[in-house]
Every structure is written in structure tokens, then in C-alpha cells.
């Protein structure tokens, strides 16, 4: 598993960790029930403070992505994949909404946007 931290980024380090782990859960790279590294070993490997990794895990737990079993460790939660998908869908819808309103102001046509989408989708 890769977690890449930038010290010069404006995004707080705990948030960088949180987002990256979240993405791995959503993309199923981290599977349900899989154990995450302990707070202390992750802190050591990333060369950051224990409190920083702890905040990241706490936020992930609050949002239901992971579960902590006291004395055992932190695991990827059995969160409903449908629910995660729904959340992602909402996010995508929001972003498309912004794109469409910008397009309307600048008189960019629906077809142009469709073309753009096709190209972007084929890129990877």
C-alpha cells in the first residue's frame, strides 16, 4: 500500500492520510475486514507524529470507513458499498453541476461537454 505525504502541501497531513486511505477503501484496494497498520507503526514509517495518524484514523472512523477494536487494531469497516457508491455519485453530480453552470455562462454546448467526457474517460 502506498501513502504519499507532502510536507509542503497546504492540506494538513492527517487529511492527506485520511483521503488516501479512503480512496483505497472506495476502490476496493483495501478490502472489508482488512487490518490497517497500527497508529504507531504508520507514524514511524511515514516519519510523522503519532497524534497525526491518530487524527486520521479517528476521522475515518467517524465517517464509518474503519472500525477500531480496542487492544486489537483498526479494520476496514463493513460499510455498505452501496452507501459509499451513493456518496461518490453525489460528489460527481455536484462537480458536474458546477461544470454545467460554467459551461452555460460561457455558452459551451452539451455536445462539447460530452466530447470532453468521452476523451477524459478514454484517457486511462
Amino acid at each position: 500500500m502506498n501513502i504519499i505525504i507532502s510536507n509542503s502541501s497546504n492540506i494538513p497531513i492527517y487529511e492527506q492520510i485520511k483521503e488516501q486511505i479512503k480512496n483505497k477503501i472506495v476502490s476496493n484496494e483495501l478490502k472489508k475486514g482488512e487490518m490497517l497498520p497500527s497508529i504507531r507503526s504508520l507514524a514511524k514509517d511515514l516519519r510523522i507524529s503519532v497524534i497525526t495518524t491518530k487524527s486520521a484514523y479517528e476521522e475515518l472512523e467517524k465517517e464509518g470507513y474503519v472500525e477500531t477494536v480496542p487492544g486489537k487494531g483498526t479494520y476496514v469497516a463493513n460499510k455498505n458499498t452501496e452507501l459509499i457508491r451513493e456518496e461518490q455519485l453525489q460528489k460527481v453530480e455536484g462537480l458536474i453541476d458546477t461544470a454545467v453552470s460554467i459551461a452555460k455562462i460561457s455558452k459551451i454546448s452539451k455536445d462539447e461537454i460530452r466530447n470532453m467526457l468521452d476523451i477524459l474517460y478514454e484517457e486511462d
Binding site: N7, S8, N10, P12, I13, Y14, R40, S41, A43, K44, R47, I48, S49, V50, I51, T52, S55
Partner: protein, 285 residues
């Protein structure tokens, strides 16, 4: 959270220097970095915790016990690395082992030699012939081989090159893999603590200026860069200190996002601990 060190209202007067009402807690399982310029009071505070200075006012508890009354018992469970070496440089790691075995009930010979090997220290060479980095590693190995729960170090990275400093920080993070273990470490090389310390306490002129988690300090604090005209419309309560230069004003603020919303000033840098320290000491209000 449980504290391994609790200092309440510590005062100590010397001629020309004074510790003023120091209050400090070191939570269990964490690394606390004590920063400040030379002569700010870091070493005196550490010496008070170890009960090696004569009489002071206030109370210090280590592992919840009064540090004066339970001194002996407490010292069995702490490892100490002070600036001035307490071991002769004419001793080899093997000699040190023989001495420490007699001093500590819990001395763990196997663990000690495991560290000596891990730190790549020649066993039969006197430490006078070691590099500065190796000397420090030997001191740390000696300090942690009786399985202490708390490690107290005064300026362990001073005078070491970046690679050696990095290795020392690795040792610290290894040490706290056990959540019962805590570290209090002083340094004026703030970048060392910037990454791995959980809490930062800044001591200046015998007084504690701030104690914060590393994240609060480095993710929330900001340095606003602005003109004299812009500075003049900033409310005094919205900043900590300001350093006035000829061409720009550097203003330290506690929460850069809040500040950005209130004032329309765009240039706000993410500070390093060193930046914060310098503006605190050199800035005005």
C-alpha cells in the same frame, strides 16, 4: 489522558536567570519536544524533573508520584541523556555494560548488546574514538537498556550531521512503538522535532510561551505577510506578534483560515517551528 510528567508552578531563581511558574504535562505514549533558545530554561527544567538541582518551588510528579519523595523508585524507570556525558570516554561499550549491570536492577544486558549491534558501535573500542553521532547512539543505548518507560534527553541532536540526526529520530520512534513509552526531548534544532514530536512546548526567557500539539501549531498557525498599511487595520486581538521589517510585516496568527476570512490578505505562509520561535522572540505587540 494520563500524564507521565506533571510540573506545577515550578519556580527557580538564580542570579541573572529565573524559571517563572512552569506548568507542563507530558502525556503517556507521546513525544514532547521542548524548544527554546540557548539559556531559555530547557536544561534547568529537565534538571528539576530529575531532582538534580537544589531546592525549587512548585511540585513535580513523575508517573503520578512526587519526584522528590520517590526519586529512587522513579529513576529505575527513566532513561536519561544529558548534554554533558556522565560516562568516561575511556570506556568501551563492554566496560559500560559491567558498570550499568551493578547500577540498575532492571539492566538488560541482551537488549543493550542488541542496540550496540543495531547502532553499529564497535564493542571493544573506547568511545573517545567514536564519531559524535556514534557517541550519542552509545549514550542512548545506555539510557534505554534498563527498559525505562520514560526517556528524557537534553539536546541529543546538537552538533550532529543530518544523517546521524535522522537515525536518532528513528530510535525515538522505535522506542514509542510501545504505547507505555514516552519521551521528553529538548532541542534548539526545531526541524528535528517538527515531524515526529506529538507536542511542542516553547520556553523563552524562563517562561513557557506555548504548549500545543504539533498539528495545531504547524497546520493552524500562519505567518501573514503584508504591508504597513494593511497591518494597521488589523485588530490587536487577532494576532500573536508582529515582526516589522523595512519592506514587509510578518504577523504570526493562531488560525490562518479564520484570519483569511476576516481580513482580505492573501499571503499567509505555513510556518515552521523555527519561524514561530523567531517571531515570538523577536516580534512585538
Amino acid at each position: 489522558m494520563e500524564n507521565v510528567i506533571e510540573i506545577k508552578n515550578l519556580c527557580k531563581k538564580y542570579s541573572g536567570f529565573e524559571l517563572k511558574d512552569i506548568n507542563l504535562n507530558v502525556p503517556k505514549g507521546m513525544i514532547m519536544g521542548l524548544i527554546g533558545e540557548n539559556g531559555a530554561g530547557k536544561t534547568t527544567t529537565i534538571k528539576a524533573i530529575l531532582n538534580v538541582i537544589n531546592s525549587y518551588d512548585g511540585q513535580i510528579k513523575v508517573f503520578g508520584k512526587d519526584s522528590k519523595i520517590y526519586e529512587k523508585q522513579i529513576k529505575e524507570e527513566i532513561g536519561v541523556v544529558l548534554d554533558d556525558s556522565f560516562l568516561s570516554e575511556y570506556l568501551t561499550p563492554c566496560d559500560i555494560n559491567k558498570i550499568m549491570k551493578k547500577l540498575y536492577k532492571n539492566w538488560d544486558e541482551k537488549l543493550y548488546f542488541r542496540y550496540i549491534e543495531e547502532f553499529k558501535l564497535p564493542k571493544d573500542k573506547i568511545s573517545k574514538e567514536y564519531s559524535s553521532g556514534m557517541k550519542m547512539k552509545l549514550k542512548i543505548a545506555t539510557a534505554i537498556s534498563h527498559n525505562p518507560k520514560l526517556l528524557i534527553l537534553d539536546e541529543p541532536t546538537a552538533g550532529l550531521d543530518p544523517i546521524a540526526r535522522n537515525e536518532i529520530l528513528d530510535i525515538f520512534q522505535d522506542f514509542i512503538q510501545d504505547e507505555e513509552h514516552s519521551i521528553l526531548v529538548s532541542s534548539h534544532i526545531t526541524s528535528d522535532l517538527e515531524h515526529i514530536a506529538d507536542y511542542i512546548t516553547f520556553i523563552n526567557n524562563g517562561e513557557i510561551v506555548l504548549t500545543k500539539t504539533r498539528d495545531e501549531l504547524l497546520e493552524n498557525y500562519g505567518i501573514v505577510k503584508c504591508s504597513k498599511e494593511e497591518f494597521e487595520r488589523i485588530d490587536k486581538k487577532d494576532y500573536i506578534k508582529c515582526r516589522k521589517n523595512r519592506y514587509e510585516y510578518d504577523i504570526l496568527v493562531e488560525n490562518k483560515e479564520d484570519f483569511k476570512i476576516k481580513y482580505d490578505i492573501q499571503i499567509i505562509d505555513k510556518p515552521s517551528i523555527e519561524d514561530i520561535m523567531v517571531i515570538y522572540v523577536k516580534g512585538e505587540k
